[in-house]
C-alpha cells in the first residue's frame, strides 16, 4: 500500500471576499481508518471538502488525494467516492438513470449500477424520480453514486443527515468494514455522536481553524476530571492546588482537573490522607465538542439562554 496518506490537506486557506471560510488548515487521513471531520454548521467542513475534491480553488495551500491533486487523477470515481452536501440531483431523472449518467461520465460503465442500488437498499426505488424522494433516500442515492467505482477512499459530507436509524446503523457498519479492508474515510458531521461511534480519529474545526486533531478517545480524555471524596478534603485541596490542579467543590466531593488520577492518589497517600472515592469522569463527547467550539459572543453568535426564568415571569 502507498505510504502517502489517502487524503492530505496542507496549510489550506479559503477566502470568499473578506470572509475567511478556512484558515491555515492541515491534516491527513491515513489508509485503513475513518476520520471524523467535525465542527458546527458553517465551520468550513464542506468548503474544505470541496477544495479537496477540486470543486473549489484554494486561496492558499494544497490538497492531495492519493498523492495527487484530485483534478490530476485519471478516472477519479474509480479511486475516490464522494458525497457532498451540495451535490444535487435532477428531480426529473430516476435513481437508476442518475447513476447511469454518473457511471458513464466517470468512465465506469453501467454494470455497477444495480450492485450499488442493492448495496444501499435502493433497488425498490430505482425507477422512481428523484424529485419525489425523501432526504434519506437522496442520501442513499448519493452514497450509491459514491460507491459506483468501488473506490479506495470515501469523502462523505454529512452522510447520515436524513437517514433513519436502520440507515445510520447500516452506514456505520459499512464504513467500519470499508476501513477494515484498508479503505480511507473522511466523514463530516456537526453531530458528534454520529461520528464518534465509527471514527478512529477526529479533526475538529471551528470558524475555519483547526481546534483538535487526534484519536477519538483523546477528545473525551482531554478535559476529563478526577472526582475525589475524602473526609480530609480540606487538607487535600491545597495539596492538589500546589501541584497546579484546579479544584472545585461538587456535591460533597472535590472535582480535580489538570492532574492525572494516578498523581492525585499518590499525593493523598504521601500525606496520609484518607480517600473514600477516587475516580476519573470522562468528559462526554458533547462537552468536549462544545468546549472546543464555544460560540464567541458577537453579532453572529446565538443569543444566550437565561440561566433561570424569574418566578415573577412564570404564568
Amino acid at each position: 500500500m502507498d505510504d502517502r496518506p489517502a487524503l492530505e490537506i496542507r496549510s489550506l486557506t479559503k477566502r470568499y471576499g473578506d470572509t475567511v471560510a478556512v484558515q491555515d488548515l492541515s491534516f491527513a487521513v491515513p489508509h485503513g481508518s475513518v476520520t471524523g471531520f467535525l465542527g458546527p454548521n458553517g465551520a468550513g467542513k464542506t468548503t474544505t471538502m470541496r477544495v479537496l475534491l477540486g470543486l473549489a480553488a484554494p486561496t492558499q495551500g494544497e490538497t492531495f488525494v492519493l498523492g495527487s491533486p484530485y483534478v490530476a487523477l485519471e478516472r477519479p470515481l474509480g479511486r475516490v467516492g464522494a458525497s457532498l452536501e451540495l451535490t444535487g440531483f435532477h428531480p426529473g431523472r430516476t435513481a437508476r438513470n442518475h447513476l447511469r449518467v454518473v457511471a458513464i461520465q466517470g468512465g465506469l460503465g453501467t454494470g455497477g449500477v444495480d450492485r450499488v442500488l442493492e448495496a444501499t437498499g435502493m433497488t425498490t426505488f430505482a425507477s422512481g424520480r428523484v424529485g419525489k424522494f425523501s432526504l434519506g433516500m437522496k442520501q442513499r442515492l448519493a452514497l450509491s453514486a459514491a460507491l459506483l467505482g468501488e473506490p479506495e477512499v470515501l469523502v462523505l459530507d454529512e452522510p447520515a443527515n436524513g437517514l433513519d436509524p436502520a440507515g445510520v446503523a447500516w452506514l456505520r457498519s459499512f464504513l467500519r468494514a470499508f476501513a477494515a479492508k484498508g479503505g480511507a474515510v473522511l466523514i463530516s458531521s456537526h453531530i458528534l455522536a454520529e461520528v464518534a461511534e465509527v471514527a478512529d480519529r477526529v479533526v475538529v474545526i471551528d470558524r475555519g481553524c483547526m481546534v483538535h486533531e487526534g484519536p477519538t478517545g483523546d477528545l473525551t480524555a482531554e478535559g476529563s476530571v478526577v472526582i475525589v471524596r475524602s473526609p480530609d478534603a480540606a487538607r487535600l485541596r491545597p495539596v492538589l492546588e500546589a501541584e497546579g490542579a484546579t479544584v472545585t467543590d461538587a456535591e460533597g466531593a472535590l472535582e480535580v482537573s489538570g492532574l492525572p488520577i494516578e498523581r492525585v492518589g499518590e499525593l493523598a497517600a504521601r500525606d496520609g490522607l484518607i480517600l473514600h472515592e477516587l475516580r476519573a469522569r470522562a468528559n462526554t463527547l458533547e462537552q468536549a465538542f462544545f468546549s472546543l467550539t464555544e460560540p464567541q459572543a458577537g453579532p453572529g453568535a446565538p443569543p444566550e439562554l437565561p440561566e433561570a426564568i424569574p418566578r415573577s415571569d412564570l404564568p
Binding site: 477540486g54 480553488a57 483534478v71 457532498l84 444535487g88 440531483f89 431523472r93 438513470n97 454518473v102 461520465q105
Partner: protein, 251 residues
Amino acid sequence: MITLVRAELLKLRTTRLWIVLLGVSVAVVALIVVAVLASTPGRDPEARALHDLTTVADVRTLLAIGGLSATLALVLGVTMATSEYRYGTAGITYLATPRRPRVVTAKLFAAVPIGALFGLVGGSVPVLVALAWFAAKGRSVPLDGTVPLEILQIGLQSLFAAVMGVAVGAVLRNQVAAIVGLLVWVLVVESIVSGLIPVTAKWFPFGGAAGAFSSQASDRLFGRPEAGVLMAAYVVLGWAAAVWFERHRDV
C-alpha cells in the same frame, strides 16, 4: 470525449424537457402554418402566394416558419448548461470529470445532434402540414430538391442556436437570466439594432450569420460561405468563454 458526449446525451434523454420542447416546437410551427394556409389572403401577393403554394419558391418561403424551432433549440441548449447549476448536479459532474474544458466541449458536441434534430423536425413540419392540407383539397404541393436543402439549412441554424445556447448558459449559469437574455437578444436587440444601423445586421450571430442560411435572407447579409465562417467564429468564441468561466468558477 465520445463517452462524455454520450453522458450528456443520456442526461438529455433521461429527462422530459427535450421532448416537451420538441413537441412545443412542432405544435407552434404547425399551428402557424395552418393559420397561414387557412387565412383569407386578401390582395397581398406574398400572402396569396403562401396561401396557394403554387410554386416551389412559395413552399420554401413557407418553410421559413420552421425556423422557429431554432428558438426552442436555443432554450434547450441553455438548459443543458444551466440545469447543472440549477439542480446542483455540477458537483457530481466535475467529481466524475474534473477536467472542466472536456465537459464543456462535450456539452457543445451533444448540442449538435439535438439542435439539428429540432431544426430538421421543425423544418419538415410546414411541408408535412401543407401536403396534408392540400391533399385534403385534392391538390398536390410543388416540391423539388431545393426543399430538403432548405430543411437542412434550418437544421444548421437550429444546431447553431443550440450550441450557442450551451455556451451562453455556461457563461451565465443562471437559467432564467440566460434564457430571457438570449430571447431578448434574438427577438429584440438584433432586430432593432439591425433596423437602425443596417450595416451591423450581417455581423449578428443569429439574424446575421445564421440568418444568411434562411430562404428569407436579405441582401444586407454575408454570403453563405462567409456567414458559415462567422458562425464558426462565434462557436469558437462561445466555447472559449464557457471554458474560461467554468475553469475559474467554484462549484
